[in-house]
């Protein structure tokens, strides 16, 4: 490099942009698709002892929510082209159901608020105890 911090930094920024552009052109902009099967696969890997008894899957395939008999919840959501999971004890997850839209937020400082579109908000009726536990 040149030894000049400003020039070297500018060169680095241009090089980074070039490499990112190359990755973008070669691989497009793949987005993680949270189907039931994909969510089950990720959950089985991350939390193998979580026996889901029920699932809610986002109609836009961006997130899914599972619950087990203990009342624990597992949230799975797309991050880039992959899926990330979070497991919550009963009462630890903040949720809000508005019609067919389920808003899931948490105090975790690295996880964004998740908005799930449900085909039928009524599907979530069986989840009421879990949601009520989670509301704060």
């Amino acid at each position: 490099m040149t030894g000049n911090l400003f020039i070297d930094s500018a060169i680095s920024v241009v090089a980074i942009a070039f490499m990112v552009l190359a990755a973008r052109l070669a691989f497009g902009r793949p987005s993680g698709i949270v189907t039931l099967a994909a969510a089950q696969d990720r959950l089985a890997f991350d939390e193998p002892d979580f026996a889901a008894i029920d699932w809610l899957v986002d109609a836009d395939a961006k997130a899914a929510l599972a619950r087990n008999e203990k009342g624990e919840l597992a949230l799975l959501f797309a991050r880039g082209d992959d899926i990330v999971s979070r497991r919550f004890p009963p009462g630890a997850l903040k949720t809000g159901l508005d019609g067919n839209q389920l808003v899931v937020s948490q105090s975790d400082h690295v996880t964004p608020k998740i908005v799930m579109q449900l085909d039928d908000g009524g599907n979530a009726s069986g989840w009421t105890p879990a949601f009520q536990q989670g509301k704060r």
């Binding site: 490099m1 911090l5 930094s9 680095s12 920024v13 090089a15 980074i16 070039f18 490499m19 990112v20 552009l21 190359a22 990755a23 973008r24 070669a26 691989f27 902009r29 793949p30 890997f45 991350d46 193998p48 002892d49 959501f77 991050r79 880039g80 082209d81 992959d82 990330v84 999971s85 979070r86 975790d108 400082h109 690295v110 996880t111 964004p112």
Partner: protein, 311 residues
Amino acid sequence: MTDFSYPDIIAYAVPAFLALILIEIVVARRTGRGRFEANDSATSLIMGFGSEIAPLIGGGAIVAAVFFAAYEFRLATIPNLWWTVILCFVIDDLRYYWWHRISHERRFFWASHVIHHSSQHYNLTTALRQTWTGQVTGQILFRTPLVFVGFHPAMVFFVGAVNLLYQFWIHTELIKRMGPFEIIFNTPSHHRVHHATNPKYLDANYAGTLIIWDKIFGTFVPEDDAERPRYGIIKNLGTFNPIIVAFHEWIGIAKDLVSARSLREMGGYLFGPPGWSPDGSRMTSAKIKERWVAIHGKKSAGDHKGRRKHQ
């Protein structure tokens, strides 16, 4: 041989980094043997860029001064000969093994190192995903004993740079196995295991250049063709934001320290294994392995004697 000047090989290597990343992108696209995502690569490269800037802002100069001061009190003066450079490299590689292992086993050090593991991808850009807070954990001080023994600071910096360069190319899925070379040297296959979160791969392959250290200290695990590595950390990040990537574990430590009810708890949160908690409700990698064994049996979780890896 008292001229301890060495080439700045990192500066020379930067164009090669760029070329190799572009080649990997093209080959991965054509063969389907690798995976890139622009957002992930951008985060990795920004982290790499920041890791070069951070020491200029922080204590890089101070630590370097300590380094050179130690040389003033050295036990011996080791000359600049080809074999002393090799000797320095081998000893520094052993030092790297233990530094790296501690960086996985103690949360204070993990808070800095976790950045390198925070990508769910494994490609050459992942190699450049480096910490911004390495100076905070004082990693260079772990190399001070080499200087104190009598290796010139410039030589120690040089062999460290060679080690760093070596570790770049092993971050790829394009190269599968490398035959007898894998007996002694760290390779893409060995390092894929290190970056994997599969329970059977946790706590393994801490080597820098020489994989022999893992074999000697019982942390070596070969890649199993039947179990493809899944990369990242146990609790993968939900963001590509470089600021959060850089500081998320430090923030987590700060939150835990605020909630701690005793000095013991503070010590546990700071220097316990990643995932330690007073009530045992969180998962350390040892617990993850135990859980896996309970579900799938001992064989599937691996039988090496390595301990904890990362949360």
